[in-house]
Symmetry: C2
Subunit: 226 residues, 2 copies
């Protein structure tokens, strides 16, 4: 695997940027459409292991909050109410994660989602000032790091990217909008059987086992615009 070397490069960027940005921790975490995820970060390995083992991503307000948000966000503006979230925060601070944090969500095609985060223990006032003056640079740094990260896996999913024919896209798009076969066929003015051919060829191209899977893959691969 030559990806090991470049993942190290990414880690190098991360630690380098931490010093540049003068923060305690800096994290880049990415999940692509195939579920593969990798991260480069400065947290302790113990905390990372714990986080994965406990599947804390499901609880972590930073992940949950950023996943449905466009703008970069200060951790204080997230929803920390709820028992699991509060417990999580307790453990996190014990593990050395700063109480202050700022995260930039990044989205790519194929449903890729990444998070670029800085965290620290400054006081509220200082942190406020810090984020204000660094938002722009943090956004650009997030783009930069994500770019580097994408270079690691380039080739693997670009090559596998299948193209769908216009009719196949039409078909899957309507199915994704909730139409069933009969309605879709009527809308496209074709026989239901013809529609089946499209669905099946799309399924084949996408390596999907059924219609729902095909639609899901079409969406996450960015082939459909619903």
């Amino acid at each position: 695997m030559q990806s090991a070397a470049t993942l190290d490069d990414l880690q190098g960027h991360i630690t380098g940027l931490r010093d540049v940005f003068d923060v305690e921790h800096l994290v880049y975490h990415s999940v692509n459409s195939t579920g593969q995820q990798y991260a480069a970060l400065t947290y302790s390995p113990a905390w990372v292991a714990r986080y994965i083992e406990q599947d804390y991503a499901r609880v972590d307000p930073v992940v949950q909050g950023c996943y449905r948000r466009f703008h970069p966000v200060d951790w204080r503006r997230l929803d920390w109410s709820g028992k699991p979230a509060r417990e999580f925060m307790g453990e996190a601070t014990d593990a050395g994660v700063g109480r202050q944090g700022f995260s930039v969500p990044i989205r790519g095609p194929s449903g890729q989602f990444a998070l670029f985060t800085v965290s620290d223990r400054r006081t509220d006032a200082k942190w406020e000032k810090y984020t204000e003056t660094h938002v722009r640079d943090l956004i650009l740094a997030a783009h930069f790091v994500n770019q580097k990260a994408l270079e690691i896996e380039r080739g693997s999913d670009t090559a596998a990217m299948q193209k769908l024919s216009p009719r196949e896209i039409d078909a899957l798009t309507m199915l994704a909008m909730g139409y069933n076969r009969a309605q879709t066929a009527e809308s496209l003015s074709i026989s239901e059987h013809t529609l089946r051919v499209y669905i099946e060829s799309a399924r084949f191209k996408l390596g999907a086992s059924n219609t729902t899977h095909a639609v899901a893959r079409g969406l996450t691969l960015g082939l459909l615009v619903v």
Copy 2:
């Protein structure tokens, strides 16, 4: 509709930024998960009408290319081969769209996708230089404009954002991965009947007419992480 006023604001930002960036045309175009789209741009109304009427988004290499790309991209690096693309380019240049262009794709939660574009008629050499020196500012401007754009529709889809229960997410996620009901139920260690309850309640919450629709909505709303 009070959105008319703010859409004018957006248009104001666009024309303002065009002068700041010293380009012929500047375009912001956004599509959200519900299919609503709006744009603020400096192209001629005739060209815009033509574009919509002909559904050129399906052909336009800028749209198609950026939709499956993360990085900002120079138009020259896109794939202009293929008959429809070449015809489209001919019409576009006739309509006053510059031959040079640079587009920044922007993605938000809920499947939102927007495109921030500058276009001009500079020579290749000058354009090369121009983009090199302005990438950073263009990225930031794209974020800024998108932020303004999101403010227009804020409230409409934030309020409608339904939460799914953990089990509902589990269920839809596995279905999106291609598992059928039997396999999904087994994976989740529950009876198939129980699984149905989740699927149905998720369908209800999402206003979906069938499983495929529910999965599609879950994905485009950013509720599922496949």
